[in-house]
């Protein structure tokens, strides 16, 4: 599998700036029980697979650009340099899964059978103009079949006019912004994957409605689409209840600390602290919580709930902290012996020797790649159109490392593959799942429109 680079990345000069924000949901943790997954059938290339392929091909148009007799070419754009480089671990996970699929599952499944994945990811440094250049390079020069992920809201927003005009699938984009699931009219070629920020905010709202129906809430949020989506999603979800937001503080990714904001929030004495921040800031906010007199119920958004991040602060003073999960965490002992986890741990070392298997972003990359594999299984023809059709007809499709009971579901009216999560609380050094998986679409109805 080739990896190429490309031109872009601006001076990654992290100087200052833009830490990332957008948070693509990073990895998370556990859950139990292996979903019966998709263990993709090993390619029995020969006879019957072949026949089936032929049958399909008969009713299918010519394969799209990027599909040859023996390869399927995919592209990705990620920040491998600069302030948002933390997300650079994601393509490592994706690449590891696809290489694993090539080596052990016989390449791509279904109508793509017999073809090896070729995955080219490049560095956009989280810069929108670089992402545009890169995506154009992938589409025009590399002639990829589809973009398997662009990362972050701004780079994705900068490129989606182009991909939709070119009618190139831009699938499973690594951002939870709702806008990427709501504009099927103008941007039907773009679709997200991870639970969107509004859905996750609803999980916390539901948790409070069930357990603390008259709580006062103090919120720390990143001042961008990611923070706003969470905050507004939460606000909408608690509308009409006795839960009240009594303090809000925002921060910029260029701020060195959130100490001042936390001081103001603590002053409110709210019952609940809703922590909508990326990992460094989340750690600071957790550190503040651990040391101050203020002892709120701490809701930590999934963007920062990796056990590595929590462990950096120290588990002991944060016991009982609440988060929402949809993936299994390799550091969680409850997944020992779990089939998905075993596959992951057995293979990640071989196919991504330099990656830290416990890194939530590597886990996420593996999971989303397996989800893409599952999507290909559902696709009826080796064409871009067919791929997009499949993205809108997912029914209970499982993927690797998803929590038990969490599967992909979409329809013509629902372009959010994952909208269910499960509440977990920090017990000891691990997240303990609480209650049932909550399907937010069932509880709160479809996400209406982009907020912010």
């Amino acid at each position: 599998m080739r990896r190429h680079p490309s031109k872009h990345t601006p001076l990654a000069l992290a100087l200052a700036v833009a830490l990332v924000a957008t948070a693509c949901g990073g990895g998370r943790d556990d859950g139990e029980g292996a979903t019966a997954t998709t263990e993709p059938a090993p390619a029995d290339t020969a006879a019957d697979g072949g026949t089936e392929g032929t049958e399909q091909a008969a009713s299918c148009p010519e394969p799209s650009t990027g599909i040859t007799d023996d390869t399927i070419k995919l592209g990705g754009s990620y920040p491998l340099s600069g302030p948002a480089s933390a997300y650079g671990a994601i393509p490592t996970g994706v690449d590891a899964y696809l290489t694993y699929a090539n080596a052990e599952l016989g390449g791509a499944p279904g109508v793509f059978e017999g073809r090896q994945f070729e995955y080219i990811f490049k560095d956009d440094g989280y810069s929108p103009p670089q992402a545009v250049e890169l995506v154009r390079e992938l589409v025009e020069q590399e002639q990829v079949f589809a973009l398997m992920q662009t990362l972050g809201t701004p780079p994705t927003a900068a490129t989606w006019d182009y991909t939709n005009q070119q009618e190139v699938p831009q699938v499973f984009v690594a951002t939870g912004a709702t806008m990427f699931g709501l504009d099927d009219e103008n941007h039907p070629w773009t679709i997200g994957w991870q639970p969107n920020y509004v859905s996750e905010a609803r999980i916390y709202a539901q948790y409070l409605l069930d357990n603390h129906p008259d709580a006062t809430v103090a919120v720390l949020f990143q001042n961008d689409d990611y923070g706003m989506d969470y905050l507004e999603g939460f606000r909408t979800a608690i509308e009409g209840s006795d839960i009240e937001i009594v303090a809000e503080q925002s921060y910029e990714t260029t701020d060195p600390t959130v100490e001042s904001q936390m001081t103001n929030l603590a002053q409110s004495g709210a019952d609940v602290f809703f922590n909508i921040t990326t990992p460094s800031f989340a750690a600071q906010a957790m550190g503040f919580d651990a040391q101050s007199d203020w002892d709120p119920i701490h809701l930590l958004n999934s963007v920062s709930n990796s056990l590595t991040t929590v462990g950096a602060v120290g588990f002991e003073p944060l016991q009982g902290m609440v988060t929402a999960l949809y993936l299994k965490d390799p550091q969680d002992p409850q997944w020992e012996g779990d089939e998905d986890m075993q596959t992951y741990l057995d293979n990640i070392g071989e196919y991504a020797p330099n990656a830290d298997p416990n890194n939530g972003y590597v886990v996420y990359g593996w999971a989303v790649a397996s989800a893409f594999y599952a999507l290909l299984e559902q696709t009826e023809c080796p064409t871009r159109e067919a791929l997009m059709e499949a993205t809108m007809a997912l029914q209970d499709v499982a993927f690797q490392l998803g929590l038990p009971g969490i599967t992909m579901n979409t329809s013509e009216d629902d372009r959010f593959p994952l909208e269910a999560m499960q509440v977990a609380t920090l017990q000891g050094e691990t997240w303990q799942l609480e209650g049932e998986v909550i399907d937010t679409r069932e509880v709160f109805g479809p996400v209406e429109d982009a907020v912010g």
């Binding site: 000069l13 001081t263 950096a312």
Partner: protein
Amino acid sequence: MELFIQQVISGLATGSIYASLAVALVLIYRSTDIVNFAQGEMAMFSAYVAWALIGAGVPFWPALLITLVGSFIGGLLVERVVIRPVEGRPELTIVIVTIGLFIFFNALAGWLWTYQVRGFPSPFPQRTLELGPVRAGLPALGIVAVVGIVVGLLFLLFQRTKLGLTMRAAAENPESSRLVGIRVGWMLALGWGLAATVGAVSGVLVAPILFLSPNMMGAVLIFAFAAATLGGFDSPVGAVVGGLIVGVSENLAGTYVDVIGADLKIVIPMAIIVGVLLVKPAGLFGSPAVERV
């Protein structure tokens, strides 16, 4: 009122973080006459070295000592190997080289230790001091104390020792310095070594509060620039005072001025700097001779 005091204290704590890096910036400026954009990243790198040592089982204090010595040697080497070839070239060239170093160290740390957020043990007890309604974390107070000590030591070095005199001379007038037999090249290298050591102190002090990651110092650098500019770029005391003013003013503006709010609080220190410089172009404590890049 209680909130006000609390915000002032929090501002002083944050300001001392800026000050700690600003002192290293001032140090290298005084001893080599250049602005080192990579100073923060070198500090971050030093903090990682300490973290890795502690992770490998070395107790805290020996690890710190090794880190400081290592940083000194590292700074020295960076000057000899990377800066030397462009010595005597226009300042802008050297600025670009330090920007190159910035990117290099940031990426190297990410590559060696990943971008995951790490905890870092504080040399100070994780306790909070309470005076009536006012609370101040010991780690933050510790930074103020250590930065004060560092500035005091630097004052002694520069004003009371022959080595300090020689370093200042080499930075101010390399040509005349050579004519009295000073090995100017080594003095510059020594300046880098010392600045890297002070930077390492900053990194180790800051890491327990900001949490260790390759991007830990990026934002701090901008504020450290602001602090040094405000104080006068050649004055360590100015750097500390500047840092504290920047820290407190941004907190108060963010908390009490509604039009500003948290999202624009960065505007306040920047505005103060521009204002101060227009009235007193050398900064609060600087000497007027400082004009070059």
